[in-house]
């Protein structure tokens, strides 16, 4: 039988103040089964009355050993696991992983596939922000927002289902392109969403932006200065809320983002409300990108969506009956996969939460030697003690929502 040890206060002594050991302050366990911790996050709080003296996050409840598992799978097999990391940004995870592979082996992606990637990544960004908006407002007691946001997200999931056959775990983006071309109905579905969504954003603003209850709970809460935010490695809207306009789509453009016209919304207050405003503005920017993407997509109608480099990308099904070579490539790729050089690359992309980086190292074989996921949730969570010190427990709930964590992302 496995012997279970108990964590005693002795082991955590260096994390709490002396007063906690003497019993003057209270130690309170929050989570891992707490609805407002957005998953299985456990926080050990040291409280004086209702004021947080210290907060010690405890993660790892959702650790699934994805990095270890990926080392045992071939490059293309390992991709299905990337969806399951950050389950609100599945397309973005596929994209990061495929871009890393493409960088490692030096594979080109046809322009039409790049445009499809951008459109889907931005739709997913809107979807992820909708979940954030819904849960953040639910934590702050705005129940109806939660229902509205999930209603709109359903339409995005329908679009993902249309192109990939799956609502969430799409694995639609593949090394060298995408799985297959989009169906004709895609244009209408996206255009309908684009026509409807702006009015919905205005409704969200109407419900929250000037709502005194919402402002009371968010303004001046969880303030972090730009210097601190950079030092703690915050990225994405959490950093942009402190006034640093950092976004990998602009600074290190990938998959053709340099051709799109969009802005990086920033705020300078650095509090929960500033981060809220940043994300709300990102809805508009994502819509702008999708609109430009649709136009480009129409121009590229009929163009290939997968690279023609048969050493890495399987040939289309139609070629198999007519070409011996295609059949050989098909067989080789689905039985052995492809080899990658013994080199290493780091591929950062901008996920809805922040910088999602894939460190990929090959060893000359068809399996990766090491895959490391630099996930924004992991980095953001460790700044939680800094953000929450001296505030009330109720504020902590608002802060957890505002840094937009996904525990599958942080625990990997």
């Amino acid at each position: 039988m496995v012997q279970l040890q108990e964590v005693t206060l002795d082991e955590l002594k260096h994390l709490v103040s002396d007063r906690a050991i003497q019993g003057e302050t209270m130690l309170l366990n929050m989570g891992p089964q707490h609805p407002s911790t957005h998953g299985v996050l456990r926080l050990m709080l040291e409280l004086e009355g209702e004021t947080i003296i210290n907060c010690v996050p405890d993660i790892g409840f959702l650790h699934t050993g994805v990095e270890k598992n990926m080392e045992a799978k071939r490059y293309e097999q390992a991709e299905v696991m990337t969806d399951r990391l950050d389950y609100l940004n599945t397309v973005g995870n596929n994209l990061a992983y495929c871009l890393a592979i493409e960088k490692l082996v030096g594979l080109d992606v046809p322009p039409r596939a790049q445009v499809i990637r951008v459109i889907l990544a931005e739709l997913q960004r809107i979807g992820s922000h909708l979940i954030w908006l819904g849960t953040q407002s639910l934590d702050l007691a705005a129940m109806s927002m939660f229902l509205y946001c999930f209603r709109e997200r359903e339409l995005i999931l329908d679009i993902l289902e249309l192109v990939s056959g799956q609502r969430m775990m799409t694995t639609y983006i593949r090394p060298g392109g995408v799985w297959r071309d989009i169906p004709e109905e895609f244009y209408d579905a996206v255009q309908q969403f684009m026509a409807m969504f702006p009015t919905r954003i205005k409704q969200y603003h109407g419900l929250l932006t000037k709502n005194p209850l919402f402002i009371d709970r968010t303004k001046g809460i969880g303030v972090i200065s730009a210097e601190d935010a950079v030092a703690w490695g915050l990225t994405g809207p959490s950093l942009r809320g402190s006034g640093v306009a950092l976004d990998n789509r602009k600074t290190q453009p990938y998959t053709g983002y340099e051709e799109y016209d969009f802005e990086i919304p920033t705020r300078t207050a650095g509090d929960v409300y500033a981060r809220y405003e940043c994300r709300m503005d990102e809805f508009w920017q994502s819509l702008r990108i999708i609109e430009q993407g649709l136009k480009k997509l129409r121009e590229l109608d009929g163009a290939p969506v997968r690279s023609s480099n048969r050493k890495f990308v399987p040939p289309p099904r139609s070629e198999l009956g007519a070409s011996m070579e295609a059949l050989i490539h098909h067989f080789k790729l689905w039985t052995e996969g492809f080899d990658a050089p013994a080199e290493y690359v780091y591929m950062p992309v901008s996920s809805p939460r922040g910088e999602l980086g894939v460190y990929l190292e090959g060893n000359g074989s068809n399996k990766p030697h090491r895959v490391h996921w630099r996930t924004p949730s992991f980095v953001h969570l460790q700044a939680l003690p800094v953000l929450s010190k001296g505030l009330l427990v109720a504020d902590l709930v608002a802060i957890i929502g505002s840094i937009d964590i996904v525990l599958g992302d942080s625990d990997r």
């Binding site: 039988m1 496995v2 012997q3 279970l4 040890q5 964590v7 082991e11 260096h14 994390l15 993660i59 790892g60 650790h63 050993g65 990095e67 270890k68 598992n69 045992a72 960088k103 490692l104 030096g106 950079v230 030092a231 703690w232 490695g233 640093v244 950092l246 600074t251 290190q252 080199e343 290493y344 690359v345 780091y346 950062p348 910088e355 980086g357 460190y359 190292e361 030697h369 090491r370 490391h372 630099r374 992991f378 980095v379 969570l381 460790q382 700044a383 625990d411 990997r412």
Partner: protein
């Protein structure tokens, strides 16, 4: 190549005598673990590398000598440049000095490489396991750590497999 990056690399090469590795325009410097703290401080204060993007490790067991490489991915927001440091660490009581004092977010990353690879961060303020349970044995991302699997139970062999499982039975 960016002038600022070139200058930073030249300065470090002159002062610490490091090896350089370039692949797909990504620059890596192979540095000695003892110099990591000083190099990081120099890069942050002198060359604007204000963000630690990522910190991880790789295991080269069994052929690799030294066995591990600890990887520091640094980013400069102002100049928009990336630089990677790699510190080879030997198998014998593997340890690196902590860079928590320079980049505070190294704290959890160093806990993670302790948890996953058993590489100690010397001088770390809170070196506990982070992703695995506190009573876990071994370091899962080492190459000599088996992946493990669970046998699938069907009606005909459920009891047989149950008997092998570690949990207590009445």
């Amino acid at each position: 190549m960016n002038n600022k990056l070139l200058k930073a690399i030249q300065t470090i090469e002159k002062r610490f005598g490091v090896e350089e590795h370039i692949f797909r325009d990504e620059y890596s410097l192979i540095v000695s673990p003892g110099d990591v703290v000083e190099i990081c401080r120099l890069l942050r204060d002198g060359f604007g590398f204000d963000m630690l993007s990522s910190l991880t490790a790789v295991d080269y067991w069994p052929e690799g000598d030294p066995r591990f490489h600890v990887i520091y991915q640094l980013y400069s927001i102002e100049n928009n440049i990336n630089l990677r440091l790699r510190a080879p660490v030997s198998d014998d009581n593997p340890a690196i000095p902590t860079i928590e004092g320079i980049y505070p977010n190294a704290n959890w990353h160093e806990r993670e490489i302790w948890d996953m690879f058993g590489i100690k961060a010397e001088g770390h303020s809170d070196l506990r396991r982070i992703l695995t349970p506190y009573d876990w044995e071994g370091h899962p991302l080492r190459k000599d750590y088996p992946l493990g699997y669970e046998e699938v139970q069907f009606t005909f062999n459920a009891d047989e497999i149950d008997a092998k499982k570690p949990y207590v039975k009445e």
